[in-house]
């Protein structure tokens, strides 16, 4: 952490018993590993790291899969349907539409892992086995397409810190600070369920800032070539409750360029999230003010679901086939050789980034599938 982040960390520790500020946890390698990394300190992770310094499928898991010699990648493939044998109650393969040539190809398989990304996985299920279930594979429970979730964000506060003009940072850090959830934890009870965490960072302003004294010209330019004030800010990542009225359905009339039905998304923040957002705003402002941060300004985006790009749910797992699409091993109740292990399986959203959870469940389901296959159960 830099000087003003440590300043805030210290003040928050003094002022509160329920909150801590920690360094963020990120998947950047500090040491090279199996041809990847280390992190080059470019802070361009969001573009996909060509050095493999930051985790991505392309830099990490695909090369590992390729190294087994058992991987075939087939780009431009749109899986349009999972083929289902209603007598054996098993999937038999998939239909693929080549996005470039429009040709269809059928592939057969003993087991199928569906990881098309949350909404597309559900879209695929909805388009499969429709001769048996009108709503598609996994729709016997009525849970398919329901309980869509995201993280709600875009809300927080920021301000400027004085007294650290003789301090600066060196280098680009692909990280910030994190404040783990403290609401509805332990004895804390709010008028809403669950909670939120904050991500934030402190930086010294650069040339993108506004300079009040000059408008154009040499003095203006020279002012911009020096760092400006220290600013610090944080934004909340809130948990969104599963709600069956937040849902996706197949649009029977609108089709995409391949003639495939598109999804209708019907999703909004409900009362629980709206109440939580008031806390996100007020708590952020209060922490900054107690730390002596000046010019504290709140930021309040609309938090529309989708902004978080953490779509979850719509094919949730559960213990009861009447209320869930998947069982505890990510198997579709109605087709045990079909596994859904991306965000679609999630039952609740938590307030932390979900990718590692997907990966852990995928590894668990893959191991289960291999063992079941060996036992002859699939």
């Amino acid at each position: 952490m830099n000087a003003i982040e440590q300043h805030l960390q210290k003040k928050v520790r003094e002022e509160y018993t329920d909150r801590v500020i920690i360094n963020g946890r990120v998947a950047n390698l500090t040491q090279p590993k199996k041809g990847r990394g280390p992190c080059q300190y470019r802070n361009l992770c969001s573009r996909g790291c060509p050095f493999g310094g930051y985790f991505s499928t392309q830099s990490s898991t695909l090369p590992a899969a390729m190294a087994t010699g058992n991987l075939t990648l087939r780009p431009w493939s749109i899986v349009t349907e999972i083929k289902y044998d209603k007598d054996k109650k098993r999937a038999t393969g998939v239909m693929v539409l080549d996005a470039e040539t429009n040709k269809t190809i059928e592939y057969s398989a003993k087991i199928i892992f569906v990881n098309a990304s949350t909404l597309n996985s559900t879209w695929l299920l909805m388009n499969s086995a429709t001769d048996v279930w009108e709503g598609g594979l996994g729709s016997s429970s009525d849970a398919l397409g329901k309980n869509l979730m995201d993280h709600h964000l875009g809300i927080g506060a920021s301000g400027t810190v004085e007294g650290y003009e003789d301090k600066y940072t060196f280098g680009r850090r692909a990280n910030g600070f994190y404040i783990p959830r403290f609401r509805n934890v332990g004895d804390d009870k709010r008028d809403y369920l669950r909670g939120f965490g904050y991500q934030g960072s402190g930086t010294r302003e650069n040339w993108k800032r506004e300079v009040a004294e000059f408008s154009i010209g040499g003095d203006y330019k020279d002012a911009l070539t020096e760092p400006g004030s220290w600013t610090i800010g944080m934004g909340g990542f809130g948990e969104m409750l599963p709600d069956p009225t937040n849902k996706v359905t197949l649009d029977k009339t609108v089709k995409d360029k391949w003639g495939l039905n598109v999804l209708n998304i019907d999703c909004e923040l409900k009362d629980n999230e709206k109440k939580m957002r008031k806390d996100i705003l007020v708590d952020a402002q209060e922490m900054l003010e107690k730390a002596g941060v000046k010019n504290v300004k709140s930021r309040e985006g609309d938090g529309t679901p989708g902004r978080g790009i953490h779509e979850m749910g719509t094919a949730r797992m559960g213990r009861d086939p009447k209320t869930s699409v998947l069982n505890g091993n990510n198997q579709v109740w109605d087709a045990p050789n079909v596994f859904v292990t991306d965000g679609a399986f999630m039952t609740s959203a938590s307030c932390v980034n979900p990718s590692l959870t997907y990966m852990a469940f995928t590894a668990r389901a893959a191991e289960f599938a291999v063992n079941e296959l060996k036992k002859g159960n699939l």
Binding site: Q6, K167, F170, R173, N206, E226
Partner: protein
């Protein structure tokens, strides 16, 4: 840590506002309105405007960083049609009609001091316009010119390495290092 959409929206802020074209630029999209023609004279003129906004001082100015050429690429590839129209009409007026009205001569015939005085006044008008304009109204063309100049200059090799300090890759991160007044800011 931060998600990609948040990261993009932060990069795209200059002078407290969202930069036109930045989102299309960063996401690799084109706005589908390419086809504007800029002559060599246009590019020279844009370089001179940029140089007036960010002139050579102890360090090189916008002209050396070829900011005029940068502007033509961004406006062509990343601006929406209505913003392109406002930009083209604006620079045409600035080059001749408005310059003649204010300085009695075309922009390129004026001295650096005359250009600075003229654009300082125009900058005030643009800032005022930005404050009162409707959300769906296009930006003042001088605001476009100014943000393109800053963006083009400070992200160029000249701007990043000579006006600012650039840390080469692979780098490292140190949270706290000493700073004394006059030290240049980091480019990235």
């Amino acid at each position: 840590m931060m998600n990609r959409r948040e990261a993009l929206s932060r990069v795209a802020l200059i002078m407290g506002g969202t930069v036109l074209g930045a989102e299309a630029f960063l996401s690799g999209c084109t706005t589908g309105t390419t086809g504007l023609k800029f002559s060599q004279d246009d590019i020279s003129f844009l370089n001179e405007v940029a140089e007036t906004i960010l002139p050579a001082t102890g360090t090189p100015g916008a002209k050396e960083a070829k900011v005029g050429e940068f502007m033509t690429v961004i406006v062509n590839d990343c601006y929406e049609a209505k913003d392109q129209t406002a930009f083209m009409e604006g620079i045409k007026a600035l080059q001749f009609k408005d310059s003649k009205a204010k300085m009695g001569k075309a922009f390129l015939e004026a001295s650096p001091a005359e250009r600075t005085a003229f654009l300082t006044e125009l900058d005030k008008q643009a800032a005022e316009f930005q404050k009162t304009k409707k959300p769906d109204e296009t930006k003042h063309y001088f605001t476009m010119l100014k943000e393109l100049t800053l963006w083009g200059f400070f992200s160029s090799e000249v701007g990043a390495t000579k006006a600012l300090r650039y840390i080469a890759v692979p780098g490292k991160y140190e949270g706290t290092v000493p700073y004394k007044k006059g030290d240049k800011a980091w480019a990235t």
